[in-house]
Every structure is written in structure tokens, then in C-alpha cells.
């Protein structure tokens, strides 16, 4: 099995499967072959963060790191910093100062997925890297990251574009000066009705603030749309490797099957299913005599085997990684880096 080098590599998966550790080891394995690699990560466990020196002032900034004599750049996503860079690059200072945008770009807010794509695009534009490895925000579900991108699309969908083009910046100022009533008057019938209903349950000020925030985001649409166009490139077989990570520990076969159903619209078909924390090799030579140990072996074995059968039926390629029995994150990363090497010519 050979994994070709592409400009982008995306790691998706639920929390706790070792996604960040695998993405880190993948980035290191690429960097050790002389490639210029940027690892963008979202939410590493504290000790991995320490290992990558992504603490304090480094948060949200590209940071050169060295692990086991391998050098690469790493970036711990900070939505706030990405917004600041966008505001600077696209000359839209309002973006960095608006109250609601700040709320939307908080961790686990609605803009995390699109902001990580925008960040990847901006870093790619810098021309400094051969490969950008993106460790996506952990979701409750494999698809949370991919579906999250759709959220921003609903911002730019037809009715929105019409609405906010129509409103224009003058209306924002008028709204500020004369209150919500003016915005109300210029908005076409259907939307006015909707906002009226929403006002009954929220309050007028929130809806007004939200509309202003959306207009500010809309003014920066160039940046967001570039992020969205990147999404198209990520669907291309020649530009992106997709790794969907799950672990034996999780044993969520059902999720894998649902994944197969949905994946088509989000990514190309030769993606990789990465199965982490396999115990099979560890147990292959173990033939316990004790009845209790036999039961333990059977329980571990059968859950892993069942999962593998289902995964292999559902995915074109399944990459297996062993569970690393160590307390130290550095050993996990180094062991897995070696394992990646076996998948590359």
C-alpha cells in the first residue's frame, strides 16, 4: 500500500481516537522525507501541546518545532487569530471587532470549520509548504467537520446574497441610528415576517446585532469564498488525501456504515479509513490457559475482528495502526511515524 504525497492532508474523526497524534506523526513522517510541512491542529491534549510547544504566545501563530530531530511548522488554530489575520489581509477591520462575530468564532462556535479552511488557504497562498496537514475539530460524529462547512454556505446561499446586497452598508448605519424599525421596513415581506416572529421569542436587539454581524461577514466574503473554493480542491484526488480515523476502542461500526453513505458528496472515493489502537498483533501469539484470561482475549479479539470485517467491506483502504502501550506522547508519535513510513515508498 502506497500513500502518495499531496498538497493537502485532512484528518477527520471523533474525539479520543488518536486523531491528533496520528496527524502529528503523519506530518513528521512527511517532514522526515525532506518535505516542507505545516501541521495545523485544533485541540491537542495538553501533553501533546507541550510536545509541539504550542502554548502561551504560540497559540494561533505558525511555530517552528523539532521532534526527534525532525523539523516542521505547527499551528494551533485560534479562531480569534484567524479572524484577525483575515481582517488584516482583506482590509475589513469590523470583522475583528464585532461582538457577535467574536461570539460566533469562539471555540465550538459555528465558524470553526470554515475558519480552519480559510487558514489552510491563507497558509497555502504563502507558498512556503509542500504539504499542509489539517487535524480537524473533533466532532461527535465523523462528518461534523464536513457538514460544518455547509453551515457557512447557508450564509452565502441565494436568499442571503440577495438580502444583504439589498440591505447594503447604508442600512446598517441607518439601523444603528434609527433602531430596528428601519431595517424592518426595507426587508422584503417574507423575511420581515420571519424576523417579526423571531423577535417575539428573542429580543429585537439580538436580531439586529446578528444581522449587522452577518453583513460584516458578508463584506469579507472574498476570504470565506476562497475557503469554500478550497473545499472543491480538497475533493480532487490529485490534491488531497483524506484520512478518516476511528479506533478499536471506540468500535463504532454503525458510524462507519453511515459514513459510507454520506461521504460521497464531501470527498473523493479513494480516501483512507485509519483504524487506530489495534491489539490484534499484540495478542496473536497469546494463548492463555487460565479461563478468565481466555475470556478477556475472546472479548478483545471478537470486538476488534467484527469491526475490521465491517470496515473492510465498507472502505476502499483500511490502514491499521497498533495501540502504543506507553505513557509518553513522544513515544506514541515516534512509533506511529515509523508505522506511516511502511505505507510510503
Amino acid at each position: 500500500m502506497t500513500i502518495l504525497t499531496k498538497s493537502f492532508e485532512i484528518f477527520c474523526g471523533t474525539g479520543g481516537v488518536g486523531k491528533t497524534t496520528l496527524a502529528t506523526s503523519r506530518a513528521l513522517s512527511q517532514a522526515s522525507s525532506g518535505l516542507r510541512v505545516l501541521l495545523i491542529t485544533i485541540d491537542p491534549a495538553k501533553r501533546l501541546k507541550d510536545l509541539l510547544k504550542l502554548t502561551g504566545d504560540s497559540v494561533g501563530e505558525v511555530t517552528p518545532v523539532e521532534v526527534s530531530n525532525i523539523k516542521l511548522d505547527a499551528l494551533l488554530m485560534s479562531p480569534e487569530k484567524t479572524i484577525q489575520r483575515m481582517a488584516l489581509k482583506y482590509h475589513t477591520p469590523d470583522l475583528a471587532s464585532n461582538r457577535i462575530v467574536k461570539i460566533l468564532s469562539r471555540p465550538y462556535g459555528g465558524m470553526n470549520e470554515i475558519l480552519s479552511l480559510v487558514e489552510v488557504q491563507m497558509q497555502f497562498d504563502s507558498g512556503k509548504y509542500d504539504v499542509i496537514v489539517l487535524d480537524t475539530p473533533p466532532g461527535a460524529h465523523f462528518l461534523d467537520f464536513l457538514e460544518g462547512i455547509g453551515k457557512i454556505q447557508s450564509f452565502f446561499d441565494q436568499s442571503f446574497v440577495e438580502l444583504f446586497t439589498y440591505l447594503g452598508s447604508k442600512t446598517v448605519n441607518a439601523g444603528k441610528k434609527f433602531g430596528f424599525g428601519i431595517i424592518n421596513r426595507v426587508i422584503s415581506g417574507g423575511l420581515r415576517k420571519l424576523l417579526g416572529y423571531l423577535q417575539k421569542v428573542t429580543d429585537a436587539k439580538f436580531i439586529e446585532d446578528f444581522i449587522i454581524a452577518v453583513q460584516i461577514i458578508y463584506k469579507s466574503k472574498e476570504a470565506f469564498l476562497k475557503g469554500l473554493s478550497l473545499q472543491e480542491r480538497l475533493k480532487s484526488k490529485s490534491e488531497c488525501n483524506w484520512f478518516l480515523v476511528t479506533s478499536v476502542e471506540q468500535g463504532k461500526a454503525q458510524e462507519a456504515l453511515e459514513m459510507k453513505q454520506h461521504a460521497k458528496s464531501f470527498m473523493h472515493q479513494d480516501h483512507f479509513l485509519v483504524l487506530n489502537k489495534c491489539l490484534e498483533q499484540e495478542m496473536s501469539d497469546w494463548n492463555p490457559v487460565d479461563v478468565k484470561l481466555q475470556a478477556i482475549k475472546t472479548s478483545l479479539d471478537s470486538r476488534e475482528k467484527e469491526l475490521k470485517i465491517i470496515l473492510k467491506q465498507s472502505f476502499p483502504v483500511v490502514l491499521e495502526f497498533p495501540e502504543i502501550m506507553s505513557l509518553e506522547p513522544i513515544e506514541h508519535v515516534i512509533n506511529l511515524t515509523h508505522k506511516w513510513k511502511t505505507y510510503v515508498i
Binding site: 417575539k200 421569542v201 471506540q250 463504532k252 491489539l279 487460565d290 484470561l293 502501550m325
Partner: protein, 273 residues
């Protein structure tokens, strides 16, 4: 001594620690001890145009399991507030409303939590077991009620949120279980999550360590293959070091699939009450 159960149990923790199996087993435990209980989980985190918009409910040998749908929950809320099913149905389908729910952090959880509390309100004997989202999302969820007090400064949602907050933050009503595995990384995260939760709510937050190989193989360490032995010894170290902070330690189940694991767990859950 029998302890009176709380009305709402929230199970959270890093992904893959066994929240779902454990919460289902806990519902079974409650039902076997003559309580009325229901298992709830959130089907989706955002509104999309494509998904089916209804809750899915199944009853497996007397155990009710409900997967709440966001759109259904939102529609029900608006329907009650505006007293019109038709208008509610229309509102939740509009792009503006979808964007609002999907973009504002925690709005989805606010809607869900409202729905969750309904189950307890409508039946004063009902115990709700919530299989909640993983770690960071759980913080967003717990925080959402407080956040919305700040975002909406007045109005119906503001008042409703205040009512929800008083329930959720009532230690006699709610209890949170953080589930962890006996590994260094998972333990670290559980501790961080617990302190994060404690900063946000006065209710009890307890840590349960799930799937421990160690106590099971304590007598057989020398018969294990070296890797598994190391795993068991790592677990031993973590358990011994932090035992005082672990409210419940559950051994690795010998079940061969999630259903048998769930049944196997039921007998060990009295400490979770």
C-alpha cells in the same frame, strides 16, 4: 441506606470512553430498581436541508431510548411559544433561521436542553439519562444557558433560559458523570473537563473510570503478553495515584459486543445514583 435518585443524569467525557453503553446500562439499572427512566441523546448538531426531521424512539425490552432531533425540538418550542404549528414549521425551514441556529454557539444545545427538561417536567417520576456530547461540546452545552442570559438581554427565550438554568444548576435535580478510560491522556482530559464543569455549575460532577483491565488481571499479570501487561500496569499506576478522585471504577467487560457489554455493566452501577 437508599439514596433518592436525581432527576437528570448527564454522561459526558472524551469520545470513545463508553458514554453511550454506560448511559444505556444506567437506564436499565434504574428500571430494574423500579424507577421510571428514559435514555436521551442528540441526533444532530446542526440543521440541514437533507436530514429527516423527527425524533427516533425505540423500546428495547422495556427500556425507552430516544434520539432527539434538533429541528423537531426547535419546531416544538416555537410552536408552543407562537401557538401555531404552521408558522413554526415554516420558520425552522428558512435559511435565516438555519444560519442562526447553526452559527451561534450553544443555540442548538439550548433548544435540546429545553426539550430534555420537558421530559422531567411532564412526569414528576421520570428520571432522564442524557448521553451528552463529548468533552468540549459538553462545556458549550453547560455554558449555553448562561451565555444566552448574556446574549439575549430580555424576551421570552431569556425568561425560559433562566428557568432552565435553575433546574440544571440544582444539585438535587442534576448530576453529571464524566466518563474516562484508565489511560494518562484520558484521565488528564477527564480532570480538565471536571474542573471546567465545576467552574460553570454547582451540581455534583463525578468521574467514572470505564473499561479497566487491571483489577481483572491483577493475579495474572505474568501470564499476559508484554504489551497488555504494560497496559495493565499503566492502568494500575493511574488508578492507585488518583483513586480518591474516582467515584466508580468499572472493570473491562467480557461482553463480545456492545449489547452484551451493556448488560454486563448493569450490575456495577449502584454508585452512579
Amino acid at each position: 441506606m437508599t439514596t433518592q435518585p436525581r432527576r437528570l443524569y448527564i454522561f459526558t467525557g472524551k469520545g470513545g470512553v463508553g458514554k453511550t453503553t454506560l448511559s444505556k446500562a444506567f437506564v436499565r439499572y434504574l428500571v430494574e430498581h423500579d424507577h421510571e427512566a428514559v435514555y436521551l441523546t442528540f441526533k444532530n448538531q446542526s440543521l440541514s436541508e437533507t436530514h429527516k426531521d423527527s425524533n427516533s424512539e425505540t423500546t428495547v425490552d422495556g427500556i425507552r431510548e430516544i434520539s432527539l432531533d434538533l429541528e423537531e425540538s426547535a419546531r416544538t418550542y416555537i410552536e408552543r411559544r407562537l401557538s401555531s404549528k404552521m408558522i413554526a414549521g415554516w420558520i425552522v425551514k428558512t435559511p435565516f433561521f438555519r444560519a442562526l441556529i447553526n452559527m451561534v454557539p450553544g443555540f442548538n444545545y439550548l433548544i435540546y436542553l429545553g426539550r430534555v427538561l420537558e421530559y422531567g417536567k411532564n412526569n414528576p417520576r421520570m428520571i432522564v439519562v442524557l448521553d451528552a456530547p463529548a468533552s468540549g461540546h459538553a462545556l458549550t452545552m453547560v455554558e449555553s444557558t448562561t451565555n444566552f442570559q448574556n446574549i439575549f438581554e430580555s424576551g421570552i427565550i431569556f425568561d425560559d433560559t433562566r428557568k432552565m438554568l435553575s433546574r440544571l444548576n440544582d444539585p438535587d435535580y442534576t448530576k453529571i458523570h464524566v466518563v474516562s478510560l484508565p489511560s494518562q491522556m484520558s484521565w488528564q482530559e477527564a480532570i480538565e473537563l471536571k474542573s471546567g464543569l465545576k467552574e460553570r455549575t454547582p451540581v455534583d460532577v463525578h468521574i467514572t473510570v470505564n473499561n479497566c483491565l487491571y483489577p481483572l488481571v491483577e493475579q495474572n499479570l505474568k501470564d499476559l503478553p508484554s504489551g497488555l501487561r504494560e497496559k495493565a500496569l499503566n492502568e494500575k499506576r493511574i488508578i492507585e495515584e488518583h483513586q480518591s478522585e474516582m467515584q466508580c471504577i468499572l472493570p473491562h467487560s467480557l461482553g463480545i459486543n456492545s449489547k452484551t457489554v451493556e448488560l454486563d455493566l448493569v450490575g456495577s452501577l449502584s454508585k452512579l445514583i
